[in-house]
Amino acid sequence: MKTARKPLKVRYSYLARQFASIDPILADIKKLVASGDFTLGAPVRRFEESFAKLIGAKHAVGVGSGTDALFLSLKALGVGPGDEVITAANTFVATAGAIETAGARVVFVDCDDKFVIDPSKIEDAVTKKTKALLPVHWGGQPWDMDAVLSIAKKKGLPVVEDACQSIGAAVGARKAGSVGAAAGFSLHPLKNLNVWGDGGIITTNDAKTAESLRLLRNHGMSSRDEYAFYAYNSRLDSLQAVVGNHLIKDFEWITQTRIDNAKRIEGALKGIKQLWFPPRAKNERHVYHLYQFLAEDRDGLLKHLQALGVDAKVHYPVPLHLQPASRRLGYKAGDFPVAEAQARRTITLPVHQHLTDEEIEHMIGCVKDFYGA
């Protein structure tokens, strides 16, 4: 474990590198600033069209953030006080936050060995109050579409896909964001397809849902002077859409590079017996927003990596049902054993598209050193 390896900074955030060649984007931003087309302007419409095409959905609606994308989707489906919405216990806080701030109650279900909701546990969580399912395509890994969609159909429940971390993920030909009643995506700066601040987008195949989302995000304004219903201000900024329009051109390269990086790291670490990797199904496209696996002595490995300059992270050390925010929901340790076990052992390595060969080899070397492999 003792090592002479020299530290090398491997950043989790690649933004400084992404910004190394931004002149074409800045040129378009200058045009925008001079035109004043800031609010739901032409760049937003263009981005929505490209994004819908990318996902294979009929409509896309740009909103303020991924959180709002989920929140507004739930609102559009009429979710509110008295309702329950089912999601995974191992997700980012925003998934549960969207449900709870919409006035409904979040109901957690355990995840499986791929870090996504375990379909075999969904039915037991359905009650008379269940209004929707909100399964999370976690970290780039799509959930089991056949299983989840068939349960939803059987129970007559709409599915809102939390695809915030999974732009481009797919099961066979079906992309995340194309199979539910609506799907929320995040364009947060650290996402695979990112903008330079908060941004989000919703996809749906239903024209009515799209129309109601367009009102929900913009004060319910059916025209400048008429408000159809009380609604929110949650718009994707034109300025951020300009950035999105540029980066979406590189989307296939970004995705493929992340996949290649993940495969390379995993190929090199696979034999280490103190590590455990999720099963990788052939027909599923994991887009590696997060490159995550389980490790023995996770905290030791984390410290070791950080000491050698690697921005390794944990997504997340405490599952949502054990957070102070869940106090009133009545959960306790032991309720979701898979999520809880993963929380103790999961670790995330940088996998982004701007990693260099040297950085990847450094990470691999550090992990190997730690386990004496």
Binding site: S13, L15, A16, Q18, F19, I22, L26, K30, L32, V33, A34, S35, G36, F38, T39, G64, S65, G66, T67, D68, F71, P81, V93, A94, A96, G97, E100, T101, G103, H188, P189, W196, G197, D198, H219, G220, S222, D225, E226, Y227, A228, F229, Y230, A231, Y232, N233, S234, R235, D237, S238, L239, Q240, V314, Y316, P317, V318, Q323, P324, A325, S326
Partner: protein, 370 residues
Amino acid sequence: MGRRVPYVDFSAQYARERRGLLKALDRTLARGEHILGGEVAAFEKAFARLCGVKHAIGVANGTDALILVLRALGVGPGDEVITAPNSFVASAAAVALCGASPRFADVGTDQLLDAQALKRAITAKTKAVIPVHLTGKVCDMDAIDRVAKTKGLIVIEDAAQAVGARYKGRKAGSLGRAACFSFHPLKNLNAAGDAGAVVTDDAALAEKLRLLRNHGLKSRNEVAFWGYNSRLDNLQAAVLNARLPGLPKVMAARRRNAGLYRAGLAGLEDVLEVPRDAKGAVDAYHLFVIQCDRRDELQRSLKKEGISTAVHYPTPLHLQPAARLLGFKKGDFPEAERQSARILSLPIHQHLTRAQLEHVIAAIRRFYRR
């Protein structure tokens, strides 16, 4: 004919600010810092100082500023909140979206919430009042405070249009429990997209708002309560930081324009009223709203002469489809209704030239044959 007077002029603003703006963007992008970064913190500090309060919390937009404050103060189902019926929809929507019931009280001839009307609108369920500093003119906060105090109501200023305005020497934003601001591209202090802030002297409220806007995250791994994602973008904060020092100049130019309008339109008092600062007030003139006879005809006539105007707003909030379930009817707020047929917002922005202003004045005088 022939001279165009746009209602807003972003290209003129950009031409003047180009260097400073690009420098700010460049600095921010080079740091690669986009979420609640240094620019946001610097702006919050500077903006709190501008308002004369202890805390400012940057949020995604002015609407969210209202929603988050109401949530943070525990306003919810069963509560009523009173605001002005002639405001932008967000003032009422924020209340409804928290699960509370928006109620209205009529305005005075100055378009601002009337303290006596407020008093009459209070019920056992009233929890808060949101006076709206419409057009950039601060409400009579002493009178409103007196009413609010006797009934134990929380006062939240809707200062979305009133950055920099003053009331009896005190600043908009420092006159209630909290105040909500918008930095929408059309505002006097504007971002290049949606942006807003809440200001308050109350440290506990500020702390709660900081959590509410960021998922309730106390630290990366601890969720104190379920919250929202409503953050002022670091990039937009950089734009605001670049523009903040110029705000006094913007306000001075708008106030100068208002003065020129008042002088130029003198003698037309029988057909139109022009806005004036109340005693001890310094209005921000986000809008310059005249109240005039034959409003629609005048607007069309000005349009023919190349002059863009706007109406803020033609239908009062209690008569909107969104208010359907609240049980209001025509005649409930006669002053707001009367004004809605007479108000017209003239171009007032800081980039207007003297010739453009004179063109507007001459066109109005021609319309009324004076």
